[in-house]
Amino acid sequence: MLPPAPGETLRVAIIGNPNTGKTTLFNALTGLRQRVGNFAGVTVERVEGQVRLPDGGQLVVLDLPGSYSLSAGSPDERIALEVLLGQGRDPWRPDVVLVVVDAVHLERNLFLASQVMELGLPMVLALNQVDAAESQGIRIDVPELIHRLGVPVVPTVAKRGEGIDPLIRAVRTATTLPGPVRRFALPAAADAALAPLVAQLTATGLPRAGAAMEALRLLAAPADDGGLAAPAVAAARDTAVAALTAAGLPPARLESSARFGWIGEVMAAAITHPARPAAAWSDRIDAVVLHRVWGPAVFLLVMGLVFQGVFTWAQPMMDGIEGVLGQLGGWVAAAMPDGTLESLVVDGVIAGVGAVVVFLPQIAILFAFIGVLEHSGYMARAAFLMDRLMRRVGLHGKSFIPMLSGYACAVPGIMATRTIEAPRDRLVTILVVPLMSCSARLPVYALLIGAFIPARPLLPGLSLQGATMLGMYLLGTVTALAMAALFKRTLLRGPVRPMILELPPYRWPSVRSLAVSVAQRCQLFLRRAGTVILALSIVLWAMATWPRLPLDAARTPAQQQEAQLAHSALGRAGHAIEPLVRPLGFDWKVGVSIAASFAAREVFVSTMGTIYGVGDAEHPEAALAERLRAERHPTTGAPVYTPLMAVALMVFYVYALMCMSTVAVTVREAGGGRLGWTWAGVQFGYMLVLAYGASWLVLAVGRAMGWGTGA
């Protein structure tokens, strides 16, 4: 084949096992900033980027979801297979496949590489993390590896950008080389037994190379595997299994023994391992953090410190932002003539958006901590601990990553369930992911904890505030597991499946990628504040301002403002909602803020900011927490908000599905159409019942015990 002409565009698909640094390599190639993490399953959807070449040409690079193998069975592995076969919804067939392997775990990584080789597409192998392999004393004979695989192999260290130029050159010339082929032979009896199944798969539209590979995989696939959906294929599989068994070849182990047999030969020829395994210190850390008793204790301690840090370290920055916003409010109030527009800017925009923006430092600190835990490799250990628990409740081990993503936002969490093959397990996970406390709940928790929970020290380095926040996150997580157990035993029964969980080596987090991920989170938070929350604050301000109540000379200014608020559209809507939230101890202001927060949970905070901004125009500089603490019943003079009510409200937010985007994505991921809406309805309904019931219980028990009813 001729080399590509200068200026030509080449399509390159990147594929590799999870956690091989595939996305880091994609970022190094394209200069984009896709999210990376030191655990499996970060990339669930295809992401595309471009590389401009010096000769004027370009590479269009597609980052495929990480997978251990190519198969038509699991949704994300199917995406990869369809793209490589040019059978996707958009027929984007790559000119070159770039397989990224982790040099430290080459043996396991070559399984996927050997499958890709069978497709016959021009292929380049990026031998990533060679620095880590070297530091562990693993020596790789690259020329021998090239000889054995029959494809170009380029050593890289993607996180430092090493080896990127040679890699681009190798990709550029890969189309001139002969295509790779299957490098191992099956016993003749196996070839004969598989031939009808291969023919059947070819008849369903798979190209021959893909069909031979898929036939091998199907031998070990469970009965509900997506690849066996067609009855003719399932029947051909059963015939092949019978023929292999008759020939004395165990069908379920045929593929793994053939591939790993060949991989073993490659490893013996090209890789030299150190006499004694290195990284003993890593094992020593694991002995503690994965211990049955110490492991969970360390986990709780780490998370407690994270949430305490969120409060302690954010406070000075929050005070700074509050000070600036207070001054801004005071300055605008003084500079603008009194009137409707001034009220819109001060009470609507500054009070509403400001109430949310104040929590930017907490978001930044939380995600910096989570980033350190992810990048260092600790999060994968936490996954390991969780996996034991999740198996006990009957949840698929692969559900952990979606649930972990749910701590940032339920939407990517729900999308990450695509890695789960069994439809019922996937649905159970979709239903419980929104119970994980997402970043949009953080402003709600932080406002209420900051205002009503005293900073009383509990343990060295942990106060009641940090512990309360940790409690809210744990409550969501434990409930998610309990609900999953319930769904698995009722609506969505099915067997428990094991997961292969890889423990990555401990690494020092890269400051740059940490800074990038924190900056991205902050940017998203501010964008929401500047768009959805700004617009909602303006609309809610209007609802709190109109219709106008005529001035009554008999009222004091404070009484006039309170009466105006009650007379406004928002006040009327709030009073209409009030009977629903009264049993939970909430007044109409909380009720209407909860209702508005269906758009997004942070809107609770901005709505409260706007309501109290409009209701307290005399003090444009006061922070929302102060206003809430100062709120008194007009008749009794007792505080309206108590610590108990704050806890009941937080528990409501732990459970309630106050998020339009999550409902939309559940509808889509649960099958779309009527089926999707039904499951979204089940999810919204059970979460609302939980929210209402649990906060009622908190209030009832708290009152009976006389807890936290004073200010």
Partner: protein, 41 residues
Amino acid sequence: MSGDTLLAGAVVVVAAGYLARLAWRAWGAGRKSAGGCDHCR
């Protein structure tokens, strides 16, 4: 009605229009493709 109030009213209408468009998109996302969350876009 004062110019001040009219201007505030216009701002409110723009904000309400923006929200309506977002809600419409989220509804559409539920029916077919593309998630509608700023956290993960």
